[in-house]
Symmetry: C2
Amino acid sequence: MARGSETKRRIMDVAQESILAKGFDATSIEEIVASAEITKSGFFYHFPDKNALAHALIERHIEVEDALFDDLFDRARALTDDPLQVMLVGLKLLAELIADMPGRHPGCIVATAVYQDRLFNPDVRDANRRAVMGWRARFRAMIDDILASYPMHDVVDPDDLADLVNTIIEGGLVMGRALDDPGITPRQILLLRSYLKLQFSPRVS
Amino acid sequence: MARGSETKRRIMDVAQESILAKGFDATSIEEIVASAEITKSGFFYHFPDKNALAHALIERHIEVEDALFDDLFDRARALTDDPLQVMLVGLKLLAELIADMPGRHPGCIVATAVYQDRLFNPDVRDANRRAVMGWRARFRAMIDDILASYPMHDVVDPDDLADLVNTIIEGGLVMGRALDDPGITPRQILLLRSYLKLQFSPRVS
DNA sequence: CCAAAAACCGGACTCGCGGTACAGTAAGCG
DNA sequence: CGCTTACTGTACCGCGAGTCCGGTTTTTGG
């Protein structure tokens, strides 16, 4: 059992590295099995097809990202009790974390899947959808916390506001890749922070 | 001369339709030539390879989008002289325009190219980069106009602010595709509008 | 009107990649 | 001891991108 899952993990590791560097379809199975030092048959023992690999990678990615967000906002909550400050500090930490990533940021696997629609089967798309919905729920809860203490100056839908976090992260990654500038995403996140500040901070006039 | 460019345009039309519906790699050349009612040789007469087709499509797409933005903000400028109002009205019009698009919004070709690195050659990536830089310049100019008349309440970099427009559009399209909800992009654009309102509107307190 | 260039047609062929099929084997475990 | 798990090795199929090249029609400039 241990040996099997170890190999499977190694396949996923080398596949992920290659996919983030070159794209999904540019990463051939032959190449993966060479890097993972197994045979093609070995690959198809663990994954029925290439789709299943993508599915497993997305599922794993969701878990990692969730854990990352949990940790991030837990650290923010350790610093302050105020829900608005938790959000603002959390976003600051997130921006710093992305900025400090060595080399080019990989770019979200979710987005790569979105833009290869027909390449992936419904399973993959569904996993994707669940991931996005999960993030919406997470940020929606935080916004509800803020709304309990602060008025919204320019009233908008809280769900849309929750989605804005994802929108800006995904959009930032697209922009960052298009311009080959890893600094864009963190700076765009800070603009989101600026927006939330203007929306909820008491006005000192 | 007329016949040649006519055929080329027909190839691009059917290719674009198919690509927006099914994705780039899911659209085979055989399929394109069948729809365009030519032969494979005919295709390769006009385009050296599939990459060149993508390149031509992106170039054309940039022009169309530029013309669209020109028209949009010209209409806004016809309604008001105030630079802030021009921006706010323009974004409103943009949101409505995207919302009124029949069926699923195609999703920006720029983003699809970004997430298929190796599939496209440097030419394509460069065209992409130029497109994004052009949009940044466009919105940067509008923001400079606003800054000439209004103070920025929470001071941020104007270039970042200009990029935010693209970030939110691209991110919105990713989200819209992930959740299969074409309403997301327009709603996210309205949040951008909300942000700019809070940033620049005089506070009545 | 005629020649040359441009815009194709037809079909055969190569190559890489995803995926299949199936026989065999080494290691662990009850 | 026998069964399962986790593979290896090899041969094979189909599809789509891209090549080659000879032939044909259509357009255009002198």
